[in-house]
Symmetry: C2
Subunit: 336 residues, 2 copies
DNA sequence: GCAGGTATCGATACCGGTATCGATACCAGT
DNA sequence: ACTGGTATCGATACCGGTATCGATACCTGC
């Protein structure tokens, strides 16, 4: 490969100093229109693309926004990332994504490595960071936004909602519809603390009515839909009297719905199914699964906006934005 | 915020020069065990996390692997990213993801910006890059791997398969099962060139048997499952004689299955449905949709391995790995 | 005791940009 | 003609690390 082009090559080609070339390319002032044009033309001709490393090192700032998510295989996180990505288009900022696999030590590692690229801001998922991670973030001196969850202490800003409250609200809605015998099915609860909080919130509401889950199956899962189907078969076989099942999320609930449809069990009359997220998959059988719709894209978008805003304002303005999930009962709503 | 710690702070704290500190932290040779220990201890105490910008600028290399995908909302790409991410754990390399939204100009932009971080390697999706993008990549002097598609010219290495062949194979399998009246339903074909190639391959096989699609509905979609359901209703209403529908992918096909189950149409006896990817969602109704299973995670993993390997070997060894999809007919296989 | 080798360390020169400030040229106003 | 101001540009000093090479100390064998 040929040596990579540097700013000096551009400057030489344009017949100016590298400083003038630098200014011209960045649209800085103090450059005549004529030089500017010559430099830009020269840069294009020799195929110059700059070196962010040097630029950021020198200017003590980069245009990277670090985004840390626990998983890529749960579609809600890519959707949130998508919102971030969209919000940053045209701002000159660029997202960089990192994955933690729901592991707090990995998260520390990933955050540390990201910070060492001196990003302009960071977006991290959830509020359950370890103490060292929180310290890293809060000492970084850049805007930090925690997303997807508001059941905890803020490092700086938060865009999310209370999973606990979402669980409670869903339980209350189902109770109001006369459901009494509840089962719970969950996947990956070890690591997914937010799903655990939803369950807790749900349980709280049940207890307030003197009830509790009559059965509960939790398991580390691979295929959410397939496992949801299998676990639903198991729970309904072992507990044929259940009239409502709360799932850790929509994927698993949808698997349950597939089982019920396949075995001819009436949904939601005979047994009501309730998930979480309002995923697109539910459109396969509209209204049959009660869910809480969460605005993942909007959350990602809003988080990015906070960072863009506080970079422009050149000051940290911590804020907390709650994007309340909406409880949708679907067909269940039409029953008395 | 307090001034960020630099290597000099660590060196001072440990009572050595910054050069010795640098060597100690990187595990370089030429450092006594005693100094090494003191430096590492000092670094931990003052919370030093390095500055990748300076390190990479100076050493002319970074530990970033750039990964460019067209979309985050189509689950197959996050799955491939996941494979990359896994493969890089423990290698000291770090993935950085970029999104193009299926836009060739955005792709050029994203690739250019990534390259200006001087990554150690790049993984890009597909083989349909624009000429300028290809030039950027091939001149970067780093290992490049194109993934997910082998129907085109390689820049360097390729890990993928022929979508065209996959379409052909599926059509042949369905023809062999006696299907004769085919419909096609596709979402987002404008941008998803690979889905288009599958359709072409499928059509090729039909023509060889003197057949063709009797009906075809394509549309830019939002919710694949929901749109698949609606489009299937439409195509079957307008063409009640179809005995097989090929979809652009499994999501859309699954929506179609939901419609058929809901309206009591026998699948696959009355009408066979065929998708692509072997998604987990199919486990909701195992075997009812014929599909081609693609190894997204493995593709991502293999691509990352190629880069890791060629970095270790310090030479570019272009290779092409074909991970052939497997055509699964499911329940259809049990019909004569 | 001395030559030659090895282990350890630090001074110095970069890497490729940007910030800063001074130099130069040119203009208008008096 | 001279002064003061503005527009344009370049020399220089960094940013925070790493590569290189020379310096020093210590050890070994004869």
């Amino acid at each position: 490969m040929t040596k990579r082009k540097t700013l000096i090559d551009v400057a030489t080609a344009a017949g100016v100093s590298k400083m003038t070339a630098s200014r011209a390319l960045r649209g800085d002032r103090d450059v005549s229109a004529a030089s500017k044009e010559r430099v830009i033309k020269a840069a294009k001709e020799i195929g110059y693309f700059g070196n962010n490393l040097a630029a950021s090192l020198s200017s003590e700032r980069s245009d990277i926004i670090g985004v840390v998510v626990p998983s890529l295989t749960n579609i809600v996180f890519p959707q949130a990332m998508s919102g971030v990505s969209d919000a940053l288009v045209g701002t000159g900022l660029q997202p960089a994504f990192g994955v933690t696999d729901y592991d707090l030590d990995r998260e520390y590692e990933v955050v540390g490595r990201m910070l060492s690229w001196r990003p302009a801001g960071m977006i991290v998922t959830g509020v359950d960071q370890s103490a060292p991670t929180r310290q890293l973030l809060s000492e970084a001196g850049i805007p930090i936004v925690q997303i997807m969850d508001s059941d905890g202490d803020a490092i700086d800003s938060i865009v999310g909602f209370s999973h606990r409250a979402a669980g409670t609200e869903m339980a209350q809605a189902l109770l109001k519809k006369g459901r009494q015998r509840f089962g719970y099915i969950g996947c990956n609860l070890q690591s997914d603390l937010r799903a655990g909080r939803r369950r807790q919130g749900f349980e709280d509401a049940l207890r307030q009515s003197g009830l509790n889950f009559e059965a509960s199956l939790t398991r580390e899962c691979l295929s959410s839909v397939g496992d949801g189907r299998a676990l639903t078969q198991q729970i309904l076989t072992e507990n044929p009297d259940l009239d409502c099942i709360y799932y850790s999320n929509d994927d698993v609930a949808f698997g349950g719905l597939c089982y019920c449809l396949h075995s001819g069990m009436g949904v939601p009359d005979r047994v009501a199914l309730s998930g979480f997220n309002g995923l697109g998959i539910l459109q396969g059988f509209p209204g049959l699964i009660a869910t809480s719709t969460t605005l993942r894209r909007d959350i990602g978008h809003a988080a990015a906006d906070i960072i863009v805003g506080s970079l422009k304002a050149a000051k940290r303005a911590s804020q907390t934005i709650i994007m309340q999930p909406q409880t949708l009962l679907g067909a269940l709503d039409e029953t008395p």
